[in-house]
């Protein structure tokens, strides 16, 4: 193909005999930055490893006999269910919206991202209220059918594994949707056109060209969704699904054994590492990167009316499940509260705190992720020896794979240790524990994986020839990153920034544990009210969380759309990992 012939035509420039000092220093600085970022992410893991090494007495025989088998089965089923949901719905909707014309397509293109604004635990609360026998749906059904006995209409129970899969899948599928849509929009136009020309259509085109081509992006999006499912405790616990993460919390809180909890958490981390390695290996075997084409928007095929209606339904249902129903419920609950008591007086402060903390975290995470992805890029170049860059990139996932609360405890222990250390140097070094900086650091640990993965995927679309050209003109690594890569990565970078911001806003367990005195965020405020049973007051904060997230999502959608105009610069419209 075209890209291959270019690659053969341009040889990598030979290494000069002596490297200018500045060049060395820049490369070293970047590598140091990458290593430092991962070291920060490793802090809580190291602290947890120390805790685990203290031993947990006779806990494990008990866990192995009575807890882990069931928790593992439950976790595996949950992951399989959510995985199938997010991949099926995320990829299917992205395929429909990107490559077809049907009524409502334009609206669905952005509406399918909306569920990202909702934390899974809020959706779980809302769905239980909506579907409960005492709630509006069942009461309405009974009224219509003239039934009085609540047990007469056996609707499926939401407090169950399938219920949990529906709730989490419908909130998390946009991770896959965004990734798959970006892949379809930016990569595949030529191939799809060729496929169509050869007579493939519909399902066959999707299965033989669309799906394999977008798979790396889909896998990256699904990994994020599945890691979030794995480390979730709010929704799973509330819906009665006893996952491994729930057993981590029970061991820690009910049995007061941080040691045992750390051991289970590290075991989960090991399983995740193995799975990710497997996925990476599978991907490395399936080479076939396609370059990005300007104006590469695929031709959209007009669907016949019946198929169009089905496509519309296929896109509508997940938006209803993941956004419209839970948010309508929130609006209704919040309205009743506001009508009676007015807005909570601290609402603006909560919004301000949430936004500032999330913005600070985003600003800290982006450069680190960029440097990490740059390191992995170096490894992936055909003319370079691996320097551990891709290992570092994968290691940055550690923080995302740990349950939030347990990561926070690990970080608190690690920061305590650091503060002990710096205290020895004198009082002018401020302690980190209990400051907003510690909280921002917690977000860093938790969410570095989000942009790191996305940027890595975006890098895969920048051909090595770009770097070689720049290097042949004497540009040091730092300048290549700044002048060549950064402009090309900008869309991916801004998409990642928005996702990190959203995730940091929704983060609950680490925020609860680490924040300074008198500092409430939207997430902690809504949790405090929900925990006490005054749901409506919580609903106001939850709704505010969604409302603040909406403009961010609007930016995300706008950024993921390929620009119609053609310019001289290449624009890889990468939206998601």
């Amino acid at each position: 193909m075209k890209s291959a012939s270019i690659a053969e035509g341009i040889r990598p420039p030979g290494r000069p005999f002596s490297l200018p000092f500045r060049r060395l220093r820049a490369a070293g600085n970047l590598r140091l930055g990458a290593a430092l970022s991962v070291a920060l992410v490793a802090l809580p893991v190291i602290a947890l490893a120390f805790a685990a090494a203290r031993g947990s007495g006779d806990l494990w025989p008990h866990l192995i006999r009575h807890v882990l088998p069931h928790a593992m089965v439950e976790t595996a089923l949950l992951l399989a269910g959510v995985g199938a949901f997010v991949i099926g719905v995320g990829t299917g909707t992205a395929w429909l919206v990107s490559c077809h014309r049907f009524p409502g397509r334009r609206s669905f293109a952005w509406a399918l991202v909306l569920p990202l604004a909702l934390p899974t635990y809020v959706s779980a609360y809302a769905w239980l209220d909506v579907l409960h026998p005492a709630g509006p749906v069942q009461a309405g059904l009974r009224a219509i059918l003239g039934v009085t006995d609540p047990r007469a209409i056996p609707l499926p129970e939401i407090r169950s594994l399938p219920g949990c899969i529906m709730v989490m899948g419908s909130v998390l599928f946009p991770y896959v949707y965004l990734a798959a849509r970006a892949a379809f929009l930016t990569q595949g136009a030529d191939l799809l056109r060729a496929g169509r020309g050869l007579g493939a259509g519909g399902m066959r085109l999707f299965l033989t060209i669309g799906l394999p081509m977008a798979w790396p992006a889909i896998a990256a999006g699904a990994s994020l969704a599945l890691l979030e499912t794995l480390n979730d405790v709010g929704a799973a616990e509330f819906l009665g699904v006893r996952t491994l993460t729930v057993s981590v919390y029970v061991t820690w809180i009910t049995r007061s054994s941080l040691e045992g909890a750390a051991q289970i958490a590290l075991m989960i981390l090991a399983i995740v590492a193995a799975l990710l390695a497997l996925e990476g290996w599978a991907r490395s075997r399936a080479h076939g990167a396609h370059g990005v084409r300007e104006n590469a928007r695929p031709d959209r095929r007009q669907l016949p009316p019946a198929a169009g209606l089905l496509a519309m339904l296929f896109c509508l249902v997940p938006v209803l499940l993941g956004f419209v129903v839970p948010v309508s419920y929130l609006v209704w609950a919040a309205w009743r509260r506001v009508e009676e008591f007015g807005l909570p007086p601290d609402l603006l402060t909560w919004i301000g705190n949430s936004a500032t903390l999330s913005a600070a975290a985003t600003l800290l995470i982006l450069p680190a992720a960029l440097v990490l992805a740059f390191g992995a890029r170096g490894d992936a170049m055909p003319d370079r020896k691996a320097m551990g860059g891709s290992v570092l990139l994968r290691a940055s996932l550690m923080g995302y794979a740990l349950p939030g609360g347990i990561a926070a405890v690990g970080l608190i222990v690690a920061l305590g240790g650091l503060d002990d250390l710096t205290e020895g140097f004198g009082p002018w070094i401020p302690a980190l524990s209990g400051t907003a900086a510690a909280l921002v650091l917690a977000y860093f640990v938790r969410f570095l994986a989000i942009p790191a993965g996305g940027l890595d995927a975006a890098y895969a679309r920048i051909r090595p020839q770009m770097d070689w050209s720049a290097r042949s003109m004497g540009a040091p690594p730092g300048r290549i990153l700044w002048r060549v890569h950064l402009p090309l990565l900008l869309p991916a970078l801004s998409a990642a920034a928005l996702l990190v911001f959203l995730d940091a806003m929704k983060e609950l367990p680490a925020t609860l544990l680490l924040r300074p005195f008198n500092r409430e965020t939207l997430a902690t405020a809504l949790y405090a009210e929900a925990a006490r049973g005054t749901y409506e007051e919580g609903a106001v904060a939850a709704l505010a969380l969604v409302v603040v997230g909406l403009p961010v999502i609007a930016l995300l959608v706008a950024g993921g759309r390929p620009k119609a105009r053609s310019g001289k610069r290449m624009r890889p419209n990468e939206a998601r990992p």
């Binding site: 009575h66 009910t254 405890v409 305590g416 503060d419 302690a431 300074p516 902690t524």
Partner: protein, 339 residues
């Protein structure tokens, strides 16, 4: 070139900047929700001029105190559940306090002889019975033991067996009947469940209203909160669907409590804050703001809660209840209670 660096340094210094020091302050780590704490802290500041700084934490309060060690700015720790309170004491995160006011206000069985912890409210674990489907005479005689009776097969709702409120109840039952009995009891109780053991105590009332189950367990203040209408009209209906039963002479009672932390920088203010929390005024906020039972012997109970009848607790030592909760939690696992 240096401008961005300066900006970053400035931003970092803002993040690290310590909160401006007040003349007199007390710093509070609490697992009690801000909705309850706000009226208490506001009143305290009004009366004493001492500023209260609060962090509402859920899990990990003990870990945070441990990690901060002698640098911790926390003066007072407030938690719910006797197990959580004893954990702070066992990990030596609290310090002894001798205060005449506290000793006079709080009965001896609700505080540590050395003053390392104090109960500030009591919380009865009640049986909820459907008004519609359980006759009043039958409801009045219900005991925790009855919930495992085969006649309630498929009719019981309860939150997770691993929740501290339940492990404390199970510990209390274990002290009285022994471990083997508890295993048998939980096996039978599990068999009676109408749905997975999950959700909160209020969901029990809601599920009873909805007809999913007929009996269940909940702390009395949840019933008070629902009936007060403060959680909305909806919740009032849940509360009205159930009868709150307090088993005579054997109600399981848990506590919420507080302690002065080991490294409290503002020790005097911390003691003063605890004394305030045990004062008639604060006890009435506990009773009327959160529908809990005051620890002060003669402090009035909220009238909704008084309507449930008098609380006559089982005679067990609180530290012993705390000591048994790990064993109780294991048995919950062994019988697969939460599955």
């Amino acid at each position: 070139m240096t401008r961005p660096k300066k900006a970053v340094l400035f931003a970092l210094s803002l993040l690290l900047a310590p909160v401006a020091a007040h003349a007199a302050e007390v710093n509070l780590y609490t697992t009690r929700e801000p909705g309850l704490m706000r009226p208490l802290t506001e009143r305290f500041t009004q009366e004493t001029g001492i500023q209260v700084n609060t962090v509402f934490v859920q899990g990990g309060l003990a870990e945070r105190l441990t990690a901060e060690g002698s640098r911790s700015r926390a003066d007072v720790a407030m938690v719910v559940d006797v197990g959580n309170l004893m954990e702070l004491v066992d990990r030596e995160l609290t310090q002894p306090v001798q205060s005449k006011a506290l000793e006079e206000a709080i009965p001896a069985n609700l505080r540590d002889p050395q003053g390392r912890w104090f109960a500030l409210s009591t919380r009865a674990r009640a049986i909820l019975a459907s008004r519609e489907r359980i006759p009043e005479a039958e409801a009045a005689k219900l005991t925790y033991e009855d919930l495992a009776d085969p006649r309630f097969k498929g009719r019981v709702c309860i939150r997770s067996g691993q929740h501290p409120y339940n492990t404390a109840l199970f510990s209390i039952l274990m002290i009285e009947h022994g471990e083997a009995w508890l295993r048998d009891y939980l096996t039978k109780l599990k068999a009676n469940l109408a749905r997975r053991a999950t959700g909160g105590d209020r969901e029990v009332a809601r599920d009873i209203l909805a007809g999913l189950c007929d009996v269940g367990l909940a702390n009395t203040y949840y019933a008070g909160l629902m009936l007060s209408g403060r959680g909305g009209e909806e919740q009032k209906r849940w509360g009205e669907a159930v009868r709150v039963v307090l088993p005579a002479n054997e109600t399981a009672v848990n506590i919420s409590g507080g302690a002065v932390t080991r490294h409290a920088p503002n020790r005097a203010e911390a003691v003063r804050f605890l004394e305030f929390l045990a004062s008639p005024e604060a006890q009435s906020i506990y009773a009327n703001g959160n529908f809990e039972n005051p620890v002060r012997p003669n402090a009035p109970v909220n009238e909704i809660v008084a309507g449930f009848g008098p609380v006559t607790p089982r005679n067990v030592s609180l530290p012993e209840v705390a000591a048994r909760r790990a064993a109780a939690s294991r048995i919950v696992d062994e019988v697969g209670f939460d599955r």
